[in-house]
Subunit: 408 residues, 2 copies
Amino acid sequence: MEKVDIISVGMTRFGKHPEKTGRDLILEALLETIKNVDKGIDIKKEVEALFVGYFTPTFYEHQAHYGPLVTEWLGISGIPAFRTESACASSSAALSAGFFAISSGIYDVVIVIGVEKMTTLDTSEVTDALAVAADDIFDLSTGITFPGLFALMAQEYFQKYGENWENLQAVTIKNHYNGSLNSKAQFQNTISSIAKKTALKKGCSFKNDLDFLNSQFNPFVAYPLRLYDCAPISDGAAIAILANSKISKRFTDKPIHIIGIGIGTDSLALANRPDLTTSRAVINSSNAAYKMAKVGPKNIDVAELHDCFSINEVLLSEDLGFFEKGHGLVAIKEGRTSLQGDIPINTDGGLKSKGHPVGATGIAMIHEIWLQLRGEAGSRQIKGNPRIGLTCNVGGSSASSFVFIFEN
Amino acid sequence: MEKVDIISVGMTRFGKHPEKTGRDLILEALLETIKNVDKGIDIKKEVEALFVGYFTPTFYEHQAHYGPLVTEWLGISGIPAFRTESACASSSAALSAGFFAISSGIYDVVIVIGVEKMTTLDTSEVTDALAVAADDIFDLSTGITFPGLFALMAQEYFQKYGENWENLQAVTIKNHYNGSLNSKAQFQNTISSIAKKTALKKGCSFKNDLDFLNSQFNPFVAYPLRLYDCAPISDGAAIAILANSKISKRFTDKPIHIIGIGIGTDSLALANRPDLTTSRAVINSSNAAYKMAKVGPKNIDVAELHDCFSINEVLLSEDLGFFEKGHGLVAIKEGRTSLQGDIPINTDGGLKSKGHPVGATGIAMIHEIWLQLRGEAGSRQIKGNPRIGLTCNVGGSSASSFVFIFEN
């Protein structure tokens, strides 16, 4: 089994890009990725294959078959390429395909891409596009969409562990703070600054962040989840270049090693799960990744978790073994997952603040781990020379999960 | 690099299955696949991952995220799974992912699936669903759809090589004959028998097959291509189980070895190709597969080629090196690709007669090669103990291509 390194990453800013198609976003991200290869790369000569994750291009661009589309658009037509899909974890599936391909020894250098161009549609249409990540027969036929699915998880969590929505706001407040330090984030404002601006504009006042989040300016989306518990609709692309460890030093003296990979699934239909506060997909994928990397949750220095809704950061942090079941929210409130904490989570602002162009999210997580493990995350760089990072990117209601572990 | 075998295959009959969803078709195909494992298999214990190719499930079933959907429906929820897409080659992409994964040594036994449930939509809606395999900006904006794209290729071929539509009918006649011997085919009638039935019903007569094919009963779809030059709209699923060669004997004494794999791309937009009678995707993929397998076109005993339109069987047979450019049609007319020929092509009836549920097609091709190389193809079994088989499955206007070479 060949070892696999990441030799570069790049991404667009996440947000609204009305002037750009999916392929344009990819090109922008690629230009940065090439620039980030420390010793340079000639992609026409070196890249042997390409895998691209894009959840629902047919909805947004009336387009599929993104493999040949992208190789052509990037000027490397001819090489092997195909698209992968696992809902919001589509680009983690692309990274998996690229990892397998290099690990097998068939290819040495591979580009993996994540992209989603969502703002061509309005919110109700995007809700429908996202809904195909749930079970059309057993979930959607009840009338539920994704905010509702995660609201059910939140309700069960609150009931089972005596938690509440007020405590959950620690996730939103932390992630908006981290996002305020990230020039690639869709939202670069702390909740405090948003509250201050709203107060000025509306001629009212708030006692603190929670007072603002509990106001009419944070309306319910699906009880108990409110607007600021939900990741936004975004456009964006993110790219990583993978190489066989044997040759990665040709491109950089600071490659990041992929030391663990795990994939798992749970029932797509939420009704078929015995416990909504845990996902077998996450548990199986993390167990496999820990085993392969020969590390445990205690060895992780920094992590990116899929906070499509605030509650999910809590659920994942527990299923990954960072905290005991029912104790995740306490740990977040205590600051243990902040930039100064013992296990910083979503240092880039997470999906909530950085944005969530769903197909791009998996590789954008890796973009952040790459920066943190190389000590290049600027004002949000965590201290203590982090050595091991983890990403957990899930699809739908955590019905699929991809966990990667990285070492510098 | 671990070696990879196919230990079993299975498929539904292709055609209309109004009573079955995509997941039902997969379940039906899996039951046959399990039955076809010579020494039996316990899929709950043995299968470690699953990859599923389905081109446009969102159009047909308002559903994506087929990875966890399928693992749940087959009773193996929890294992790694994701979907692959490369238009009509989506399940060859699934096979590629499965091949890479076993070849890397990460998994030992993997299920790869192809499926498409198309008849939920009417013909104009299916035409739109298929159209997303072309370039939305540079192809579709001209008003063209797939019959038109392949009609342009046919016109250029006829002009360049002095060929004509009458000669092209050799493909249709051969494939309908082969399909008449295949109980899994959507159409199990020779052109002669269709002509005879039509003559009886309409009170007219035809001198021969060509006379019928040249009549009003074979209307133009996109000049010069007519109805019988086009593969039909179909439902269906096909499955293969892959295993590391080191353990495949646990499941069967007659595994089929995958000795070559090649993937290639060409420009998605047809306008960007200098020559419409050839595809760089097909050439690159076959070169890679031949090199890996250490064989050439002369060593191939039987092949399955992607005849989505009759002209494409000709183009592929030339790009694969079976015949010189411009000589493919002559060879087919001479019977060299018939069941008794020196290089039998599409012994199962091809996409034309067997049917073309696009996501399922790649693995259905492998189903046929499996039967032929094991000597189990019944009345259509080719003589001489075929040893090496090839599949060429393309996406869209051959903008992506997957070539696999198998040995018994």
